[in-house]
Amino acid sequence: MLYQFTLKPMTDVKIIEIKKSVFADNDKDADALRSELKRRGVYLLNLMSAPGSGKTTTLIQTLNRIKDRIKVAVMEADIDSDVDAVKIKEATGIPSIQLHTGGMCHLDAEMTRQGLDNVSMDGVDLVILENVGNLVCPAEFDTGAVRNAMILSVPEGHDKPLKYPLMFTVCDLVIINKIDVMPYFDFDLEKCREYIHMRNPEARIIPICAKTGEGVDVLADWLVAEVQNWKQA
C-alpha cells in the first residue's frame, strides 16, 4: 500500500472532529415528519421499485379498489416529466401531484415534507409516495413514511433480494408483480420468498398481476387494514 504524506507546518492546521453519520440529519427530519403525520392521522406509504416494474399500473389498480373505502392522495416523484401524475389522475380521479427531484435519484425527508405541503390533506387517510424508480438510493434515505413497500417484477428475477440487500431489508411489504409471465422467466417464487426473508424475516409478500388484477384485492385489503389499524393504535 502507498501512503501519501502532505507536509505542512503543524501550527498551520486545526482539526475539528465531527464523527457524525451523513444520514443523521435526514433520519431526524424523517422522525419529525412521522410524528407530525401521526398527529394529523395521515398514513404515508413509501413505494419503491426498479424502473419498469409496473409501479404506476399497480397503483392505479389498487387505488380503484380502495378509493371508496379510505381517502387517498398520491405523490409522484420522478427526475423529470409528469406522465405518471397525469396517468393516475385520468385512471382513478385521485388527486396526484408530481415532484421533480431535479436530477437526484431519491427523495429525502425534507423533499417529502415539501411535497406534502402541496397536497390537500383535508380528511386524507393515506398518502402514497411513488419514489424514484431505483433500488439503491431510495433505500438509504428515510422519507418519514410509516411503511416502506417495494415492487419486484418477475422479469427482474427471483435473485434480486440478493443483489439489493438494503432495499429488501428496509421494506415491510414486497409486492411481486407480473406473476402472469412467471413460466416464461424461470422465476422461482419460493426461492424469492426465501431470499426476501433472509433480508427481512418480517416482510409481508403479496404476489399480484397488475395487468389482469390477480392478487390486487389482497393488496388493497391489506392496505386498508394497515391504515385503519394504524389510525386506531
Binding site: V13, K14, I16, E17, S21, M104, V136
Partner: protein, 114 residues
C-alpha cells in the same frame, strides 16, 4: 448517483460546524466510508469538487476518504470474516445467522481548518 445528494448533506454539516467554530475557510474534509456503504469514492470526490467550489467557505477544499473494511460477524460460530469476499454466509460454518459489524459507514470524521 446518490453521491450528489450525499455531498449536499456533507456540505450542510461542514458549513454548520465551521460557523459554530467561527471558521471562515475549511481546507479538508475527512470522511469514513464503509466498503459496503454503496457510496463510490470516485463519484463522491467528483461530485464534491463540483459542489464544494460553489461555496465560498469550501473553495479548493479537499475531500479525503478513509475506507472502512466491511466485517461480518457470525452468531452461530462466533467468527468474524471479510464481508466483501464471503457475503452473508459464514465461510467457517455455513450459517446465515450473520450481521454486518462495520463497513456501512457514511460518516464525516473531521474537518481541517486553517
Amino acid at each position: 448517483m446518490h453521491e450528489l445528494g450525499i455531498v449536499f448533506y456533507i456540505i450542510r454539516d461542514v458549513k454548520e460546524t465551521a460557523l459554530q467554530n467561527n471558521v471562515n475557510h475549511v481546507s479538508a474534509v475527512v470522511m469514513n466510508i464503509g466498503e459496503v456503504s454503496t457510496v463510490i469514492p470516485e463519484y463522491l470526490t467528483d461530485c464534491w469538487r463540483w459542489a464544494a467550489d460553489k461555496e465560498e467557505m469550501l473553495k479548493g477544499c479537499e475531500l479525503r476518504i478513509n475506507t472502512i473494511p466491511a466485517v461480518t460477524r457470525c452468531d452461530t460460530c462466533g467468527s468474524e470474516y471479510d464481508t466483501v469476499r464471503y457475503g452473508k454466509k459464514c465461510p467457517h460454518c455455513g450459517s446465515d445467522d450473520t450481521w454486518l459489524l462495520c463497513g456501512n459507514e457514511v460518516e464525516i470524521k473531521e474537518i481541517e481548518v486553517t
